[in-house]
Symmetry: C2
Subunit: 188 residues, 2 copies
């Protein structure tokens, strides 16, 4: 939990009393490799903070194929946040790709933070802004770069990812087939 405390302290001022009240409502949980932290079609009621490990966010397309939507690693928050906000059934599932330790932050804790922590709203704002900016970059890249160019930039966004996960997940993250990714890699 110290890592999480450290990150929060980097974003906002949070008194020991505030932290104590908040920390009572959250918990640490471990997930083995390949286990799902959250599944599509359920209303998400918590946000995760990754202390260790690697999570992928996946969605089933209209043909029923699993598409990798996103990766998240140490120090990041992760959830089907849009569905969380709207209190609607999730479209995404979250899966641990390695043994992973997360802080589980239930909705009640988040709402408590907004109501009782001086900079709670600010924390929420900054996290949303950061997450938004990531998404914005993502869309921007799909507009302005070819799959090949995107592949060569992926390490900038997720350092070390190429050695941590299988290629077909990279391919679907890039929006292409794994065969095509294989081709791209061998084009020099």
């Amino acid at each position: 939990m110290e890592f999480f405390r450290f990150i929060v302290a980097q974003i906002i001022n949070c008194s020991p009393e505030e932290w104590e009240g908040f920390a009572k409502q959250i918990r640490v949980q471990e997930f083995k490799k390949n286990v799902f932290l959250a599944e599509a079609n359920r209303v998400p009621d918590e946000v995760f903070f990754i202390e260790k490990g690697l999570i992928r966010v996946l969605i089933n397309d209209s043909k029923g194929t699993e598409q990798t939507f996103h990766f998240a690693t140490e120090g990041q928050f992760i959830a089907d946040y849009a569905s969380y906000l709207r209190m609607q059934p999730a479209h995404y599932s979250l899966q641990a790709l390695e043994d992973t330790r997360v802080v589980v932050i239930p909705r009640a804790a988040i709402d408590w933070g907004y109501a009782h922590m001086k900079q709670g709203e600010k924390l929420g704002r900054l996290v949303a802004e950061q997450y938004f900016s990531y998404h914005d970059d993502r869309i921007k890249q799909t507009f302005s770069l070819t799959p090949k160019e995107r592949y060569h930039k992926i390490e900038e966004v997720f350092p070390g990812i190429l050695n941590r996960i299988p290629q077909h997940m990279i391919a679907s993250y890039l929006g292409i087939s794994s065969v095509h990714l294989s081709r791209i890699k061998n084009q020099k």
Copy 2:
């Protein structure tokens, strides 16, 4: 300005005194059709709220071609928000596609709101969350739908848009060529 006041009041509680202090720092501005409200490569220092009209957000890809990234209409906030947040040169330009009236909200006003309005941070959070959710839907659709399916859903996101703007802008918003969009339309 009343429309803007009305929308803000729908999102947060804002006392007359707070509004007065805030309103002093913002202004209304009109832009003729085809005029640019903001240009790429400049650090954005304001956010716009659209009271009337239609704005497109565009980006130049690596070949120098204009790509339509986004549309925004009455009642929405618009900016190259990621660049605004990072105080970095914008990647997007904003262009009025019709005669448009906006409320110009400078960075100073926004920061003033965070510092002096009780629910200022909350407003910022909710706007960021909303904008994030829109982006999330957008990426989700590009993953799970074909261009044809996306075309048929565009009116859900931007009601009436198909009759307001030329087809090549729709095409680049969908990520396809205008010729291909023409094909799709005539497939029944």
